[in-house]
């Protein structure tokens, strides 16, 4: 079974791109990733493409725009984990020995596609009763408040941190820092979550070129990053009365990634996690075992998750600051980890970073804890 390496990474700016199609965004990310890897169009043996609301054959449309056709292309929809599921599939095909160079792309164009809040699928009973995605996390936040004494000010500090980090990321959607007071002054979406605690509607694409150990050696160069583990899980059926502040789904994905990589939570130097809402970041890092359960929001206020803190979280700006083009998000997280590990993260560089973790978790469906969750651990 071959080790898997990320040999190339590319990403468009995240934000509003009303003048571009999803295919154009996807192709731009792919071409940057190919150039970064030093491989040509003909070197790509297979591709996995994640998107959520882009319709049929997003992969063929984006790769066709980018000059790639004829190879196996697998289109993936796994809610917000679509892009990271594409990475998981691409990595599996290399580990299986079938291919040496495989592309993973995530792409989404949402400008003008939605009004109001995101909801689960309209066939979902809870969605028919009024459940929105912000409401899902708002209700979990209320439990975090009640069980651990977490406050709105502490959650707002998570948003303020990520939006501050985004200012140092030229590809991020938000360019201005936002204070805790400004977060709390923004309008309420679902109590206790304010507008500035919810990920925005975004367009964008991100791509990585994965290679086997053999191909990585042939390519030469020293910028390859090892994908030490890629784990994918789906949410278990909700039976009984469980603690909604505990992320069983996140932990099961993390546990597999830790076991497969031999890298434990105490070895992780920094993390990109799925902060679709401020409270979500807390639930993720606590679920990953990176911070003690119930304590993360208070520790953010102390600066422990800052770029110069004990364990920087979402140094890219995260979904809250960088933007959240659903299918692209999971790939963009890995692009960020790769750039950090290569020392190419510019003003947001984490000194001496050698182990990074990317966590992506998406979706809600009646009767299951969550749709899909990936944990990717990368190292140099």
């Amino acid at each position: 079974m071959s080790d898997v390496y990320v040999v190339g990474a590319g990403m468009t700016p995240f934000g509003k791109h009303p003048d571009k199609t999803a295919a154009e965004l996807g192709a731009a990310a792919v071409l940057e990733a190919l150039d970064d890897a030093g491989v040509s169009l003909g070197d790509i043996e297979a591709a996995w493409v994640g998107s959520v609301f882009q319709g049929m054959a997003m992969g063929q449309r984006a790769l066709g725009e980018g000059g790639i056709s004829g190879i196996p292309i697998t289109n993936v929809e796994n809610a917000c984990s679509s892009g990271s599921t594409a990475i998981w599939g691409a990595a599996m095909s290399i580990k299986a020995g079938e291919y040496d160079v495989v592309l993973a792309l995530g792409v989404e164009h949402l400008t003008g596609a939605f009004r109001g809040a995101f909801t689960p699928d309209e066939s979902d009973v809870e969605a028919q009763r009024g459940l929105t995605m912000p409401a899902v996390y708002a209700m979990r936040a209320q439990r975090h408040f009640a069980q651990y004494g977490t406050t709105s000010e502490q959650l707002a500090a998570i948003s303020a941190k990520n939006k501050r980090n985004a200012v140092a990321n030229p590809l991020a959607q938000f360019k201005k820092p936002v204070s805790v007071d400004e977060v709390l002054a923004s309008r309420m979406i679902a109590d206790p979550l304010h507008l500035q605690e919810c990920a925005p509607v975004s367009d964008g694409a991100a791509a990585v070129v994965l290679a086997s150990k053999r191909k990585r050696a042939a390519l030469g160069g020293s910028r390859a990053v090892r994908l030490a583990a890629s784990a994918l899980k789906s949410g278990r059926a909700e039976v009984g009365l469980k603690d909604m502040t505990v992320e069983d789904l996140t932990w099961r994905a993390a546990e597999e990634a830790y076991e497969r990589s031999g890298i434990g939570p105490s070895d992780v130097r920094f993390a990109e996690v799925h902060d679709c809402f401020s409270i979500a970041e807390a639930l993720r890092v606590e679920g990953l075992g990176l911070f003690p359960h119930g304590e993360y929001p208070a520790r953010v206020v102390k600066g422990e998750a800052d770029l110069d803190g004990r364990l920087p979280v979402n140094g890219s700006g995260g979904l809250l600051g960088k933007g959240h083009p659903l299918g692209a998000t999971g790939v963009a997280q890995v692009v960020e980890v790769v750039r950090q590990l290569r020392g190419e993260a510019g003003a947001r560089q984490i000194p001496g970073a050698r182990v990074g973790l990317a966590h992506c978790r998406g979706g809600k469906a009646q009767g299951v804890e969550g749709t899909a969750c990936t944990v990717n651990i990368l190292t140099v």
Binding site: E126, G130, I189
Partner: protein, 144 residues
Amino acid sequence: MTSMEAATAMMKRPYEVEGGLVRLRAGRCPECGAVYCPARLVCDGCGHRGLEEILLAPRGTIYTFTTVHQSTPEFRTPYHLCYVDFDEQVRVMLPAAGDERPRIGEAVEIVLGTGPRLVDAEPEEGPHALMVAWTATGKGEGDV
């Protein structure tokens, strides 16, 4: 009735009214006792096919809640949502009747109503017909 017909019937009218009390239909696994609301074809816990229909208690306890201020155009905002825990060890999400802010730990009972959805349908049609309202005795029964 086939399981498919039963599932369809439950979607249309997911409750029974007995003596003025509204009780949700649910499915219980005859093998391991796991309860699902709504019911499903196969028990996730033990794989048993075919759940027996039960009616949940007419009252439950608020596990958590939110007030939704932004939704999709089909809903009038603001509205309250709750996850309600029932003695049968099952948790169900329901909109709350009235303007009062829900509280964790509060006892509630099921009432019928149109909920926050902007629809012309009769209240007893469809899953959005269900709501919860405070019981007279349930106020202030502590937190968490």
